[in-house]
């Protein structure tokens, strides 16, 4: 066994144990340790990715060398390695971009608590990505939920606490359904390891036995994870949670936490149920319908919104809709498009949140659109970054959003029944996106009329927020890279999905 194969496990443990370590350090050192840990884990994931690319096949890592029914396994392929690397990079940038707000908005005594939460979150995300065991996945889903709640309410004001409670209730409902689904599956197959369940399920599907319970468990798992990742009718917790928490929390929640659940769902589709069984079931049609409705309704809510942060939050609902619509197409191409959109949305949404915080800083902390008039001039880099993010979201070529739209359209073309709906939904949603994002871009570049500016608005020079600006520059680069250099990444995703089965 090569030494590199230990890396996934090491990175999970590293993030898990750096949590307690940061609890005894003071704020500044906690931050340093946290940054260091995320960076190290990023490098480890990169090494794993290269290793897997080199060998060309996924490897299984048995913890404690116990064989299947008793032991717990980690399984790493190309996609897992890449996701871990990407998540680490985005998380690092989110932490960097929100550091000033975090220090301002969170009480001093609670600074290091924040880093514990972030470390735990990273640990649970990594575990969700790597694990080969369904019950372990469930455990880390819960850890993820709890740390996410902490991230929301650590900035203490009425709205965040309300938002956190709401998030808690919805999330627990989701994980309850997930647990039920897992119980059913365990009952049906007698296994918890993904590969074993898949064999058993294939047998059941072939003989047609237990059709209803199997269908039911798939439905429960899908709905559970859909609630947790804020698919359209279950999105009520989202705008407050993303809109009022401190900016790095909002960026991390929107770009990583919900994506972790979605990635788990992809894994369950491929590694637990088997993709052909999933495609034959009607669950994907349900996901498709709600995805399409979400694409439209999320954008409509965003248009009606009067605050920039909540608007971006509602736009997430629409983007999550895109991803589920891709699942709903029920083709390999659809999944590829969805996974690409996970990456693209990850890079863009966090960019938008960080840039929006830069704009609100320049407008006396107000998030209302009238006060943001001309903010693009007061904080130049944030204005440019917000424009890039908006163009990417709308689907401007050169940026990541364009490629994912192209992939969705291509995927839809292979599907006769759903093609027209998908294309029309894509078109409408693009126009709606253009309406609210371009409206905001126009707003921030409209020179403020005299006497109407917010009293506390001021010009922020480039040097004042070095951390945030650095993060913004990297986010923009990430976006352009995804947009211009998409082919190898799409290839990587295909290879990764190939390794799943």
């Amino acid at each position: 066994m090569d030494f590199v194969q230990n890396f996934p496990f090491i990175s999970i443990l590293l993030s898990l144990f750096s949590g307690p370590l940061t609890s005894i350090l003071n704020g500044k050192w906690a931050k340093r340790v946290n940054t260091l840990v995320i960076t190290v884990i990023g490098f480890l994931s990169g090494a794993v990715l290269f290793y897997v690319l080199g060998t060309g096949e996924a490897f299984v890592y048995r913890m404690g060398h116990f064989p299947a029914p008793w032991g717990n396994e980690i399984r790493v392929g190309v996609l897992e390695g890449f996701m871990a690397l990407f998540f680490c990079a985005v998380m690092l940038l989110c932490m960097l971009g929100g550091s000033a707000e975090r220090e301002r908005e969170i009480e001093d005594s609670k600074q290091n608590l924040y880093y514990i939460m972030v470390n735990l979150l990273l640990c649970s995300l990594l575990a969700l990505i790597y694990t080969n065991d369904l019950f372990t996945a469930y455990v880390f889903v819960e850890i993820n939920t709890i740390s996410a709640c902490g991230l929301i309410m650590i900035k203490q004001n009425g709205r965040t606490i309300e938002a956190a409670v709401r998030y808690m209730i919805m999330s627990l409902l989701g994980s309850g359904l997930l647990l039920l689904g897992i119980c059913f599956l365990y009952d049906l197959t007698g296994h918890l390891l993904m590969s074993n369940i898949k064999e058993a399920v294939a047998e059941l599907a072939a003989t047609g036995q237990y059709h209803v319970p199997l269908f039911l468990s798939l439905g429960l798992i899908s709905v559970g994870l859909a609630i947790k990742s804020a698919l359209y009718p279950f999105h009520a917790w989202l705008p407050d949670a993303y809109g009022y928490s401190t900016v790095s929390s909002a960026a991390i929640l929107s770009s990583l936490v919900s994506k972790g659940y979605i990635f788990l769902l992809v894994k369950i589709f491929y590694r637990v149920i088997g993709f052909s069984v999933v495609c034959d079931s009607k669950v994907i049609n349900v996901l498709f319908v709600f995805g399409v409705i979400g694409m439209i309704m999320g954008s409509v809510s965003a248009i009606k919104e009067g605050e920039i942060r909540r608007m971006i939050a509602f736009s997430s609902v629409a983007q999550i809709g895109y991803i589920y619509m891709g699942f709903g197409l029920g083709t390999e191409e659809g999944i590829v498009a969805s996974v690409y959109h996970i990456l693209s949305h990850c890079a863009t949404k966090s960019l938008l949140f960080v840039a929006a915080s830069g704009l609100t800083d320049a407008s006396g902390g107000s998030r209302k659109f009238p006060d943001l008039t001309g903010a693009g001039y007061r904080n130049k880099l944030a204005g440019v970054a917000f424009t890039v993010g908006s163009l990417s979201m709308v689907g401007f070529p050169m940026f990541s959003g364009f490629i994912s739209k192209l992939l969705f359209a291509q995927a839809a073309m292979e599907h006769d029944r759903k093609m027209m709906i998908t294309l029309v939904a894509l078109a409408i949603s693009t126009v709606l996106n253009a309406i609210y994002f371009m409206k905001t871009v126009i707003r921030i570049y409209t020179p403020a009329a005299k006497g109407y500016a917010h009293p506390d608005s001021r010009r922020i020079p480039l040097g004042e927020q070095p951390d945030k600006n650095l993060a913004l520059v990297f986010f923009i680069l990430l976006n352009v890279m995804l947009g211009l250099n998409s082919e190898p990444i799409v290839e990587l995703i295909r290879k990764g999905l190939g390794m799943f089965s």
Binding site: L391, V394, G395, F396, P397, M398, I403, K405, L406, L407, A409, Q410, A412, M413, M419, M420, L423, L426, A427, T430, V431, A434, M438, V441, I442, Y445, T446, P447, A449, L462, L484, N485, S486, E487, V490
Partner: protein, 506 residues
């Protein structure tokens, strides 16, 4: 070897971006150094030489040999692909000529406007983007450069940085983006039904597909026409044009009105003649609506121009109307009409560029914005006003000017096309519009040379300003000569276009 195609695309974009960045760097420097006048001349000389070199390279490349180049694949089966074909050659040549002439003009004009580096940077980058657009070999590559064109040309509109200019720029951005997304939707659909998105003369859609999926394909083509029509100022998405073109500095409005809007037409030709083929929409509701929209735009544009008192705005409305001549010629789907349309692309580019440049002379020297302020201007600037007169006559369509040849071909094409009532209605609307054109352009000449009692122009003028400024006059003279040459010796050009049209519309 074919990587050389990237040269005229990449070099101007890179140099332009660098210039632009350096203008920002200047902005952030604490103390503003006083610039030596020599720097400015050097900056312009280098930029103009570079642009000329790139333009020469682009033109030579496009007229010698068959060149193609595949860069990375964006997604499976859709590469970034460049191929230089007949239409691309034509547009590249027009763009290059106009760009070099306008860049010479900029030197004198921008003295008044300041911020050279920012303007020149955008101007250079835009040239590179346009060359890329001309050389694009498939729909997605074209779309990419089309959007880039919008993005890079917006700062030109906003150049003044006044509230009005910025709002106009944002309006331009919004309309263009919405239009382009309508086009994108069509690309998605075409990607499914066409064998390839690569441009092939006559289209790549197989007849069986065209018959069995006629409904959806026609709808998609219609959406694309409306979308790309936004750039060409066609109804219903024309509203940005009269707002955005007048507020830009004159050299910018010259290239916007003379060249950029033509790329809406370019995209339409690419879609209709190179991807789906004309047979798909011939005689269907798409063609009818398209013709109706373009004729309405011709008439509406001329009427609005006629009653517009602000000079540059009048020219902008005139662009709306003239562009739809081209669109109408295209929509007839007839080789003769297409020949006329392509001739008008060339003629209108030269003429409208010239008109906006003369407007720039009056604006920068005397601060005249309204037509009524221009009476008596011929006494101060006779040479410029003579150039203007040539352009005006060209736009009206006098014989021996570029406008005549194109309008003649358009009318002939319209009459020989089998489009029922439109075959006759077209020339009638064109004639009325030509009369209106005479009505809104010629009074400037008349009152300019014969002011009568009410001489107002140049009240604040001083002898310093009235000296002939060769930087400004030279491009105008060249354009005026071109207008006449194109109208007097059109033979070669017409036969080239006839061949091309025959190839495109079987």
């Amino acid at each position: 070897m074919n990587m050389v195609i990237l040269l005229p695309i990449g070099v101007p974009i890179l140099v332009g971006m660098m210039l632009w960045m350096s203008s920002f760097a200047e902005h952030f420097r604490k103390e503003k150094k006083k610039k030596a006048p020599g720097n400015r001349i050097a900056l312009y000389a280098v930029s103009i030489l570079l642009l000329t070199a790139c333009a020469a390279a682009a033109v030579v490349l496009s007229w010698t040999g068959d060149r193609q180049l595949t860069l990375t694949e964006l997604v499976d089966g859709i590469p970034l692909y460049f191929y230089i074909d007949d239409l691309g050659k034509l547009f590249v040549t027009v763009v290059s000529v106009i760009w070099v002439l306008t860049s010479v003009y900029c030197y004198s004009y921008l003295k008044e406007e300041g911020a050279d580096k920012r303007f020149l940077g955008c101007f250079l980058a835009l040239y590179g983007v346009l060359v890329g657009l001309c050389f694009a070999g498939n729909l997605v590559t074209m779309y990419l450069f089309y959007e880039l064109m919008t993005l890079v040309s917006t700062p030109l509109v906003m150049h003044n940085r006044s509230r009005e200019a910025i709002l106009a720029g944002l309006k331009y951005l919004f309309f263009s983006l919405c239009g382009a997304y309508a086009g994108l939707f069509g690309i998605f659909v075409l990607n499914r039904y066409c064998d390839t998105l690569v441009f092939l003369p006559g289209g790549s859609l197989s007849p069986e597909m065209a018959v069995s999926y006629a409904g959806i394909l026609q709808a998609a083509v219609f959406v694309m026409l409306i979308g790309f029509g936004a750039k060409a100022g066609m109804l219903p998405l024309h509203a940005w044009l009269p707002t955005a073109h007048p507020v830009a500095p004159s050299p910018a409005s010259a290239v916007l009105s003379g060249v950029i809007v033509k790329f809406g037409v370019f995209a339409m030709i690419r879609v209709v003649c190179y991807v789906v083929g004309t047979e798909l929409i011939r005689g269907t509701w798409v063609q009818t609506v398209w013709m109706v929209l373009s004729l309405c735009t011709v008439f509406m544009g001329s009427m609005l121009a006629f009653r517009e008192p602000v000079f540059k705005k009048r020219l902008a409305y005139s662009t709306v109307s003239q562009l739809s001549y081209i669109v109408f010629g295209l929509s007839l789907l007839n080789p003769a009409a297409l020949t006329g349309a392509l001739l008008h692309v060339v003629g209108h580019a030269v003429i409208k560029c010239g008109l906006f440049l003369t407007a720039g002379v009056f604006l920068s020297k005397y601060g005249c914005t309204k037509v009524s302020e221009l009476s008596g201007i011929g006494k101060k600037q006779p040479k410029v006003l003579w150039c203007y007169t040539v352009f005006a006559l060209g736009l009206i369509g006098m014989p021996f000017t570029a406008g005549f040849v194109s309008k003649w071909n358009l009318a002939v094409g319209s009459l020989t096309s089998k489009t029922g009532v439109f075959a006759v209605l077209g020339p009638i609307v064109l004639l009325i519009s030509a009369l209106l054109t005479a009505g809104y352009l010629l009074p400037v000449t008349m009152h300019g040379f014969f002011p009568g009692e009410s001489e107002t122009a140049g009240r604040q003028g001083n002898p310093e300003k009235e000296r002939t400024d060769w930087w400004m006059l030279l491009p105008l003279l060249v354009l005026a000569v071109l207008t006449v040459l194109l109208g007097t010796f059109p033979g070669k050009l017409v036969s080239y276009f006839e061949e091309l049209s025959g190839l495109l519309i079987g």
